[in-house]
Structures are given as structure tokens and as C-alpha cells.
């Protein structure tokens, strides 16, 4: 294959462009504290040391973490069940189901948001933490299905059959064979779900009532000034996610090497 330096240099520039606003946000988490966090005044650890200084940022962050964890857990369970059914079973209305799973991803967020908002309004449901979680589970399910379904498709059913032949109960087959084998896919799906939920602004805005999540807090605060602690929390989440992704990649690479050795 001929080395194509032009494409290489171009790609590095685009990757740099993708990283500029991320770098900016992290750098400004180290700004010397003042009333606003727009101009650079110099390097300091103050915002990181006083990470809990602004109670509204902390509350919004904690809310988003909680919503993200609950929505991810529920969406992972519902989505994994659908994925297994899609790969393993024959049933009527398969096409209708595929369309139902595809549509939430093909609907603009503002339509989903105003739809859920109108629904809760028509039903007289009070908007708040509960309605946010309900909405987040919904838009995470489809993404769980596409991720986990690929993993189910790569599973050899013979392994589970071997378990059944050795008199394992259905529960034992699930917990000791199927689930551990699906786990990498479920973890990837959970990471994606959590990222989607944690960063969702548009749908959340329509169903939140007066509850503040991290993104709705930033949107509201952007009118005046965003405290530097918001940058700190965003950087913490970013670094944590990158560590998780790198770990996942490394373990996948190790698994491939091991398989290559054994194979």
C-alpha cells in the first residue's frame, strides 16, 4: 500500500480540530477563579481543589449521574432482552419491530422532546426527575440493541448447548455462560447509553419541569456566567470515560492476542 502523506496530514489536522474545544474546556478548568470564566487569567488548581464550591453545579452533576446510571441500567436490561430475541428467535412482525427500534434514532430530538412534553401535559403527569429517567431509558434502548445484538450474533450457540448437555439449569446457562460472554457488548452499550443520557439536553429540556441536570444547568447558566467548577466536572467525566475506553480497547486487544495464540 502506497503511503499517502496528504491524507495523513489532513487527518491529523481534523483530529486536532475535534480536540480543540475539549482542550479549551479542560484548560479553562484551571483558570484563576473570578466572577466569570471567559478570559484567561493564569494557571491555578483552585477550581479543582474547591470542586464542590458551587452547590448548584454539584446538585446538577449528581442528578445527571443518577439519571444516567438508572436509565443505563433499565435500557441495558430491556435492550439486551430484545437483542437476544432478534438473533435467536423467529417471530411475526419482525420488520415492524425493526422499524420501531430504528425510528427513535431517526426522529429529531426536538420532536421526541415536544412529544413527551405534550404527552405528560395531556396526561397531567408532573414533570421532574421521574419523567427525565423515563425519557432517557427510551432513547437509550435502540442504541443498546444495535450494540448488544452484534455481540449476540458473534456468540456460538454450541457453547450454551454444551452447558445444557451437562445438566445446567436455564438460569445457570444464562448466568455462567451467556451473560459473561455478552458482558463486553453490554458494557460497551452501557458506556454509550450513559454518555448519551449524561449529555442529553434537548429532550431533557422538555420533560424536566424544574429539575436541573448538568446540561440544562449549563444552558441556563450560559446566559450569565458558567462557574469554572462546571468545567472541572466535565473534565473529570471526560478523563474517566477516556480511561474506560482505553481499558476496554486494551482488554479487547489482549483477548484477540490470546485467541490468536490458542487458535
Amino acid at each position: 500500500m502506497r503511503r499517502n502523506w496528504g491524507v495523513g496530514i489532513y487527518s491529523v489536522l481534523i483530529l486536532a480540530l475535534l480536540l480543540i474545544p475539549i482542550g479549551y474546556t479542560i484548560v479553562f478548568s484551571f483558570n484563576i477563579p473570578a466572577r466569570t470564566n471567559v478570559t484567561w487569567r493564569g494557571f491555578s488548581f483552585d477550581n479543582w481543589i474547591n470542586i464542590f464550591a458551587d452547590p448548584r453545579v454539584v446538585a446538577a452533576f449528581v442528578t445527571s449521574i443518577g439519571v444516567g446510571l438508572l436509565a443505563t441500567l433499565a435500557a441495558a436490561a430491556l435492550g439486551t432482552a430484545i437483542s437476544i430475541a432478534l438473533v435467536r428467535f423467529r417471530f411475526r412482525f419482525r420488520t415492524a419491530l425493526t422499524v420501531l427500534l430504528f425510528l427513535p434514532m431517526a426522529t429529531p430530538e426536538v420532536v421526541i422532546g415536544s412529544g413527551l412534553g405534550s404527552q405528560f401535559l395531556n396526561l397531567g403527569v408532573d414533570k421532574g426527575l421521574g419523567t427525565i429517567i423515563v425519557a432517557h431509558i427510551m432513547f437509550c434502548i435502540s442504541f443498546v440493541v444495535i450494540t448488544v445484538r452484534a455481540r449476540v450474533s458473534s456468540l456460538d450457540p454450541a457453547i450454551e448447548e454444551a452447558g445444557r448437555d451437562l445438566y445446567a439449569s436455564p438460569a445457570q446457562v444464562w448466568w455462567r455462560i451467556t451473560f459473561p460472554l455478552l458482558l463486553p457488548g453490554i458494557v460497551a452499550a452501557a458506556l454509550l447509553s450513559f454518555a448519551l443520557s449524561f449529555d442529553d439536553f434537548i429532550i431533557t429540556a422538555f420533560v424536566r419541569g424544574t429539575t436541573e441536570t448538568f446540561p440544562t444547568y449549563i444552558y441556563t447558566a450560559a446566559v450569565r456566567a458558567i462557574p469554572a467548577q462546571a468545567n472541572v466536572f466535565a473534565s473529570v467525566i471526560f478523563l474517566l470515560a477516556i480511561v474506560l475506553v482505553v481499558a476496554q480497547q486494551l482488554s479487547a486487544a489482549a483477548r484477540r492476542r490470546q485467541l490468536a495464540r490458542e487458535g
Partner: protein, 304 residues
């Protein structure tokens, strides 16, 4: 494979599909959930879009059930330039994102194939923006392109921009923001297609005396088309409905309002729920037309 790009699994083992009652129990909870939280709200939108102001209660935000088709005519007559603008901005952002992402996806999926470590690193960098708050990233661009910011200073020192130039609040910034935001959504599915590209096909092309240009156009591009289609949908659909980039608090101004801004304004500020609902339905229908064309060209089984 439209959205399968996010999974990273490439092995598929053919599995016999059984018919069993177990399928029902696996499907039921999720399907009921989606019906209640996705389909029912769509019905709710249609119902709301046909409501009329409540004549017994003049409080703001009070409406009664009716069949007022005229709501649609009213919002189309009032907002058609903004609807048109939304599709224009979104189409431009999609084209720019495609032109920017294709070479990047080619580099990661084909050129870096012999360097797995670099390939993995480049992929992590492409998905890195997913993990940093979208609103904070957009505000970072706002600061970078601000009137006293580095970009304007630099362009002014080169005499490209006049002394009192603005970038924030212009259509350029909104399209730039949309393009930037959707590069990963465009690049990932194209990468997935190109990563599976059998390089021997390219060799075959050159063996048959095709020059690199026509090998690219007649072998590489057609084989990466599923990724291009997915990436285009993943960019165009959310970009058309986005209202953060175009909002005056972020990269836009009142002159760059998109349909999402109007929906959120009529919903939250005016509490004119029927108009917001009618606009949402119109947006959804206008978006589903290109998606339906995509459905008829590809097989539905390939959707996920």
C-alpha cells in the same frame, strides 16, 4: 447496518432461529416501553397540534381538544422561511461533514490498518467528543470565535476580516458548529465500511489497468456507500432538529433561528403547545421522506 457502527463486533455466526414463546417474554417489556414512550407521544403530538385555545379559561397555555387543521396552515405560513433555512443549514453541514470525514475515515480504516495501535488511538480521538459536554464544547467555539478572540484577531492581522467583524451570530458559525458537532457521527459509520474493505479488490482494479482515481471511484466508493448513507442520516436528521448551535446564547442569533428554536420558543415562552406540536409533526414528516427513500433502497433488516 445503519447504526451498527457503534458496536465494534465484526464476527457473525449464523444461528438457527427458533420459534418459541420465550421470544414474547424477551420482547414484551421493551416493546411495550417503546410503544408507551415513543409511539404514544407521537399520537399525543398529533392530538395537541389540533387543539384550539380554551374559551372557558383564558390563562396562558390552556387549550381544549378540537380538530383545528388550520393550525398547520398557520405555522407553515408564519415559519416557512425558517423551516427552509433549517434544511439548508443542515444540508450544508451534512455535505461539509461528509467531505471532511471521508478522508479521515479512509486514513483510519485503510491506511492505518497495518498499525493497529495507531488505528485504535485515532478511533478513540474520533469518539472523544462524545464524552465532553456538547454545550461546553459549543461555548468553547463561541469563545474562540468571539470578537476579541484569537481567530478574529488572527484574520484581522492578515487583513482578511475588517476591524469590526463578527463571526458569532452569523450563518457561517451555525453551519460550522453543526459540521463540527457531527463529524464523529459521519466518520464512524464510513470507517466501519472502509475497515471491512478487502484491499485485494483495489489490487484487482490496478491489475485491470484502472488508475488509482477510477479504482477509488468505482471500487472504494461503492463499497463504502452503506457507511456514507448511515453517516448522512446520522448527521442530517439530528442537525435539522438541533437548536443549540443556532441559539443566540451559543453560535447563532435571531437571524439564524432554525425550526428547533421556534419549537422551543413556542413551547416554553409562548406556551403555544398546538403550534409547537404542529411544527414538530411537519419537521418529522419532512425528515421521514428522505429516510423512507433510504428504507426503500436498502432492506429494512439492514436498518440496525
Amino acid at each position: 447496518m445503519a447504526f451498527g457502527a457503534f458496536s465494534g463486533e465484526t464476527v457473525v455466526i449464523e444461528q438457527p432461529r427458533r420459534r418459541s414463546r420465550a421470544a414474547l417474554w424477551l420482547l414484551l417489556p421493551g416493546v411495550v416501553y417503546l410503544a408507551a414512550t415513543y409511539l404514544a407521544p407521537l399520537v399525543s403530538l398529533v392530538v395537541t397540534s389540533l387543539k384550539t385555545p380554551d374559551l372557558t379559561n383564558f390563562d396562558i397555555g390552556r387549550y381544549q381538544y378540537a380538530f383545528e387543521i388550520g393550525n398547520y396552515g398557520h405555522v407553515i405560513a408564519t415559519y416557512w422561511p425558517i423551516i427552509l433555512r433549517s434544511f439548508g443549514y443542515s444540508a450544508l453541514a451534512t455535505i461539509f461533514a461528509l467531505l471532511i470525514s471521508y478522508p479521515l475515515a479512509y486514513f483510519i480504516g485503510v491506511t492505518l490498518r497495518t498499525y493497529p495501535l495507531w488505528q485504535a488511538l485515532a478511533l478513540i480521538l474520533v469518539i472523544a467528543p462524545f464524552f465532553m459536554s456538547f454545550l461546553l464544547r459549543t461555548l468553547a467555539w463561541k469563545a474562540i470565535f468571539a470578537d476579541e478572540g484569537p481567530v478574529i484577531h488572527f484574520l484581522q492581522s492578515l487583513n482578511i476580516l475588517p476591524a469590526n467583524a463578527h463571526l458569532n451570530g452569523t450563518p457561517f458559525m451555525v453551519i460550522f458548529g453543526l459540521t463540527y458537532n457531527f463529524i464523529p457521527f459521519m466518520a464512524l459509520p464510513i470507517y466501519t465500511s472502509l475497515e471491512r474493505l478487502d484491499l485485494r479488490l483495489l489490487e484487482a482494479g490496478s491489475d485491470l489497468y484502472a488508475n488509482p482515481g477510477s479504482t477509488f471511484l468505482r471500487v472504494t466508493v461503492p463499497l463504502s456507500l452503506p457507511g456514507v448513507v448511515s453517516g448522512t442520516l446520522l448527521t442530517f436528521i439530528p442537525a435539522t432538529g438541533d437548536y443549540v448551535n443556532a441559539s443566540p446564547q451559543f453560535l447563532g442569533s435571531t437571524q439564524t433561528a432554525m425550526v428547533g428554536n421556534v419549537i422551543s420558543d413556542t413551547y416554553f415562552n409562548l406556551q403555544d403547545y398546538p403550534s409547537a406540536a404542529a411544527l414538530s409533526i411537519i419537521l418529522m414528516v419532512l425528515i421521514l421522506i428522505p429516510v423512507a427513500i433510504y428504507l426503500s433502497v436498502t432492506k429494512t433488516e439492514d436498518l440496525l
